[in-house]
Symmetry: C2
Subunit: 113 residues, 2 copies
Amino acid sequence: MIIQHPDQNKIRLEHVLAALGNPMRMMIVSVLADGGEHTCGSILKGISKSTLTHHWRVLRDSGIIWQIPSGRESLLSLRRDDLDIRFPGLLNAFLHAAECDELTKGVIRQFSV
Amino acid sequence: MIIQHPDQNKIRLEHVLAALGNPMRMMIVSVLADGGEHTCGSILKGISKSTLTHHWRVLRDSGIIWQIPSGRESLLSLRRDDLDIRFPGLLNAFLHAAECDELTKGVIRQFSV
């Protein structure tokens, strides 16, 4: 399995914003914000494989996450350094809202495992 | 003409991000960042009325802009205070990228009047 990721200098702000602007992807990014690698299956449960595959692809193609094959699974992690270099403050502002804004926390909580 | 806007405490992060994640709306917001009121017609030219109406509605419904009727036109302005209170740093990070990131500047420039 070969998975393409955009180089850091090809990441586009409009793709990042559009990718982040979805409740399920907000939840995924808030989990990956711990800096670790997570298996796909550990982040969201009870969601169809095709739906998950779609969300991983949107996050990966926009340059928000790395998706690295590992055996029969793949490991996901946040491209925090790349995003911080290209769009300083953007991810921090997003994660601050995800942690502190009541409405945003509610949106994320509905998908939390 | 009655135009609805979400109250500050009803603005949702996922709607703001999705609304910002579009080249034409990025350009509109970067113009409104000067803090002034702009007529709809002064921001984008050569775009069909239905397309413009769609973009104003997305920006207005997500809580990013005020759209205030004024005679036969309407005046647009950025809800900067509301966004800064709800999502500190988010708009600044967006506008920084719009001013400093080469790829983002290119996207915005293609729609500039």
